[in-house]
Symmetry: D2
Subunit: 304 residues, 4 copies
């Protein structure tokens, strides 16, 4: 597969829609990003990198961080994790409290905000400075030292995180958060504020495409079965309320963020990351979703 | 892959759990079935059949019929279908009216009862006797003339279908059913009452594993893209409220029924069908779910 | 209290708003009524009648019938009635299925449609032709032979009663309806289609204002305690989702209907009925609500 | 009416049930109170006091404070108050977040926790130390200097107020709280922690029974119309989810608290307060509810 030519074709085809959609505005710092960015990268299991556009421009990974805090929390807790967070699609907007109320403070899955707050709580218990541990984890997976979180974005998010605070206190009332709520919120907002580029993210996700082993280091991070299971969760729950539609159109395990990034993988082959800040109403990158749909249409590389 | 040896191993391993779970009791005729049945079949793309246990004993396919009425309705309506039924997991019990109320009478997906009632309504519009058209379609896909629906089961289901009647009238109040409600309910209950065995079902689903072409006849029923998309829907929505969990544990597109059948596929390879009437609380066959989980664990054949 | 002068003052004050609001359109026959009607009547315990405007023009009483079918069902069942229908405000639109789903098919109160369907079911069990029994009951209370239901309205309502059918089948699925659903719906729609005028309704409600005794005949229909309790239910649940607001503004027990009637009472003093077909979004008569608010403001005759 | 004899009869009749029910346990300080207390007081408009049992033992007024913070906030804001809080029964448990989510952060009424948090927010804006202002207001109404809030109870409640914190942050996310959430929660918990006895509460509520004028001082606190409207709110919303049932059984405007107090009034006649800490599942005092039901049965003094 000539991925480089493919990426160039996708970039060309998508030109008319780049800049469409709305940049996330609820975090003031994110609202400043231009909607006209577009970058896309494919990294193969052997490390070969293909990239177009702004694929090396760092952006705020936001909810993509949930995929990696899930890997860390899963490593820490094993299957006991699933007593505190479910594995079912939410069927409701990603920050809904209704579901928490009906289901006794157990979030539907780790990729909605409530679920990721539980992950952050677990990391707060295990690590003195959980945000540093997450950053360090990303560096290991991406083989890249120059990864950091953006303090201004973290602070901007923290100042406006009233709804996340509501969910955190609500889960606390059910006993499903153990650390002080402000500390969990701090950690959560810093995880979301990590900055990375498409190439590094596509490389970081190879651990799943490679069934649990980091290809560049040979380190086994999780079992083959666990890697497949996390991939399954990405497919059913990784793209907010549009997961069913995304699976239907794209057919790849993926995790998106309101910063405009979408990180996907082709099992056994490669990691794929696309970034374009304009969002669909569902919260997924508009151009990014179309780019991945085009990718699977042109390559025939869906999992189905 | 020596599928025959594999099926025998699975049957052996599962012996202790066969008979566990509860047989569906809300349809009196179904409640009479013994929970001790277990059958499983794999049919490869080239037509090779592997089977164990009760794989040739016919059973009531129930909600597995929704997969095939979806194929028919999708053929009839094309993408216009998605204006009347969604593609998202339901996140609620399979016969919930709450969701219909919040979403203006548009069912979440075609695999919940409300969605399948819309499919039945479409078939009522297109065919004089929709149940006969569905039976004929199943015969074509399975290459088997001896398929029928069970009139007693259909009548038994119709007599107790108060909740389905509620959903149908409710969708009618939103204008999302066009035919008289009793007629749609009749058709729906007859689709559910079709009797087939594991071998025939595994052969029938090959049209999806083979990307839209019926292998034994060479007939293209739907595009490769449509076949992948329906498979994606099976993964995200095919096993009631446990779809996320099922994808996590099994990792194959599948559609289950309260008769105890689960029909799955390995894209590009084979159809798999298992039947055992004892159900988990989610409504999926208990032994059947475990059999498929064992199948993917032993073969490494998940899609992830 | 010079009620006649008072009614004339109210009619005069309200002139500008008569005709505002929307006539109920979901029942075609009702949609034909002119919004410019306004009638109001007060009937004192001693039988003295005060009336203005269209107070003697018959209109479709619609949900006001629920008050009287409640009295009949309560007579039949006594406190056992409350095992099949609750006594709490609904907090949801008057035809919501959500609540029924969360509360196992027990409607919140007898004044929402679902609750009145249970009342109709009780009357179907007790009477061969329940609509005739209800008409006869109204005649006794109003002391007026010339009361009937309008067959065209009943049929028009029955043909469009998909949502009521949905609720009825849903309650049937929970075992909270005992008679065949079509029969219950027929009876319900005929109860709603009863035609009466303001004077007769105000006289009929005197049984509650007079603590259980029909003043003109001396017949005790229910105990003083039961009469008070039904009045309390009218206050908390009688005006759809606006019951709290209505109690706040008007402060009298009342039952409204989408035909534009509102029937109220001043305990120990009189019955009051107002009719004007233009509705507020809550389903209560716009001019009628204001007329009653003015009535209590001018007389100081609220119950608080 | 010989209220003293009446109260003694009620106390006698209720002897067997005093001590039944469960003392509120979610606030550790409250859980220490013995369930065997029972006190009841009637204070007539002319100031005559009738009392039995523990009528002069102070208890934690808890949600009864919402009635008085409502009076203060209503004085401050007038009808503008109703843009930030509704007037409808909640139809859901008293601390539900579901309703807030469906209704854009506007609580259903001022007597549920979310509504009272809005009242506390208003008082935080108007007063430097809102809890002192509320205590001062209670002293004026009760004509009693020796009223205070219990700091240990306030702190105990604050430490466990996770669900109230969730609601407060949630309303903040909708813009319906203006002051910092911790400050509003502090004030709210101190209002709830006010300690009063039955006699003082029954005297304090006379301002409503007397249509807006404090009888012992002659001070007009609110208009007659406003007093009636607040009384109407008490009837429709004052006893948590059991308001409909309470109106049905008791028929008096009332406000209850989880400390076991219920404060009621007979318009134009008297204030009535009862205290017994054992609660029904609805959160209302078990013996207290029965005492008031007996009160209206024996006196015939309901408002209906």
């Amino acid at each position: 597969m000539d991925y480089q030519a493919l990426l160039e074709q996708i970039q060309h085809q998508l030109q008319p829609v780049i800049g469409q959609g709305r940049v996330a505005s609820y975090i003031p710092e994110l609202a400043k990003v231009s909607p006209h960015h577009f970058g896309m990268a494919v990294v193969e299991l052997d490390g070969t990198v293909h990239a177009v556009g702004d694929a090396r421009v760092p952006f705020s990974i936001q909810s993509i961080s949930k995929l990696f805090t899930l890997l860390m929390a899963f490593q820490c807790e094993g299957d006991a994790l699933w007593q505190r967070v479910g594995r079912e699609p939410s069927g409701n907007p990603f920050n809904s409290l209704v579901q928490l109320e009906h289901e006794s403070g157990i979030p539907r899955n780790p990729f909605i905000n409530a679920g990721a707050l539980v992950l952050a709580d677990i990391l707060c218990t295990r690590f003195a400075v959980p945000e540093n541990a997450v950053v360090e984890f990303m560096r290991r997976l991406a083989g890249e030292k120059d990864i950091q979180y953006d303090r201004r974005v973290a602070r901007s998010e923290r100042d406006t995180a009233h709804r996340n605070a509501a969910m955190a206190y609500f889960m606390r009332s059910f006993g499903n958060l153990r650390n002080p709520v402000p500390q969990v919120l701090d950690a959560y907002c810093r995880h979301c504020a990590i900055e990375m580029n498409c190439v590094d993210l596509a490389r970081a996700v190879l651990v799943l495409a490679n069934r649990g082993v980091v290809p560049h280091s040979g380190e086994r991070l999780l079992s083959a079965s666990a890697a497949k299971r996390v991939s399954a969760l990405m497919l059913t729950c990784g793209t907010y309320d549009a997961a069913g539609d995304f699976a239907f159109r794209v057919g790849l395990p993926a995790k998106s963020g309101v910063g405009g990034g979408i990180l996907a993988l082709v099992p056994g082959e490669c990691g794929v990351c696309v970034w374009s800040p304009g969002l669909e109403p569902s919260g997924n990158s508009l151009a990014g979703s179309l780019a991945l749909e085009t990718f699977t249409t042109l390559t025939g590389r869906s999992i189905f």
